[in-house]
Symmetry: C2
Subunit: 203 residues, 2 copies
Amino acid sequence: MAVRGRPRGFDAEAALDRAVEVFWRQGYEGASLTDLTEAMGINRTSMYAAFGNKEELFHRAVARYAEADMAYAREALTAPTAYEVVESFLRANADALTRADRPSGCLSVQGALAEGGDSGRIARFLADSRLAGERALAHRLARAVEDGDLPAETDPHALARYVMVVSEGNAVHAAAGATRAALHATVDIALRAIPRIPAHAAA
Amino acid sequence: MAVRGRPRGFDAEAALDRAVEVFWRQGYEGASLTDLTEAMGINRTSMYAAFGNKEELFHRAVARYAEADMAYAREALTAPTAYEVVESFLRANADALTRADRPSGCLSVQGALAEGGDSGRIARFLADSRLAGERALAHRLARAVEDGDLPAETDPHALARYVMVVSEGNAVHAAAGATRAALHATVDIALRAIPRIPAHAAA
DNA sequence: CCTTTTCTGTACTGTTCGGTACTTAAGTCG
DNA sequence: CGACTTAAGTACCGAACAGTACAGAAAAGG
């Protein structure tokens, strides 16, 4: 071990958690370094020393968000049937979008949509990360088609895209103040579009 | 008439149209006055004289957007059946989100999501205007329930919210570069969730 | 014609932005 | 104890931001 110089006076992980909240609430451009460092409880220079710059801090924040606040998405993929995968994902998503101890909405959707200035790169980065989730879901649904768990004519990519559209639309609604119950009511309706095998292929 | 001073040297409506595009592409905060006035082809002071300030310009831009670029939404409400209302809206929405001669996505969704700084008021304003559309659709669907055009147990507000969620989710996807075909494939699936009367009540 | 009224253009205001020298503090190593 | 290494804090940088004072230009009213 043997760290040489003066030891760091703050917990970088904890500071990153605070940064996640600020980016989540205010978006990439809306979060100033002053906002961020005040919330993180550290100095400007300490942030640059620990994370590089604002954009790298944002990347770290999104990574931490994906790991901690979107764990439900990876978990949903392990459900036994395609329908349960989708329902589990959309239910947990609706809950995550309306947690009392967290900002409303989704960091990935709210972080940046417009393309002005630096935000172009940021928006593309976030879009790519959302697309990665969509692809993972499509892969899981493709397996369901192979398994006969979804009708053979189902397009898994289109279905995955539909599910992501519902979750992103709900994120927009949540950011605008929709209640958890409202999001779940939307999920109730959205699930009607998920095809189900007439229940005779099951073991 | 008899206008007294020096006549205005530009077409305010045309200039507003240019401003709509800039706000659409870059969002409220992402669009600087320099960006705006350059696109509008007018001077900074001329903009302030004609529109007041950036926020009032934005309000005017959104009003013009709603009038011109969202006319399809009002038109969709006049379709004969609830299903046709929803389908017409979502199809026209998918087309509007991917017009070659316009920015991708939706000004109302992209304009502001984060809440930092002034954007709080802007985000709330846009959320309210989206909600107005949702209410208009809910009103139309409530009439459909009364008419027996939708099942009696249908919650028109929940259904309207679902339709708006799909359109907003598609807007997020379109802003991220999704193709028109992809949006329509999503609409194909989304429409499966719209209840239809078993087709015997029709005249 | 000259005054009045309104618009245009330049040049500026104060503030905030992300990022950074540079000094001071707090540790380990010899 | 110094010597070295790294973090923390202050005070600043140039650039960009929204908004404006002011001088000149173009029309109508008299």
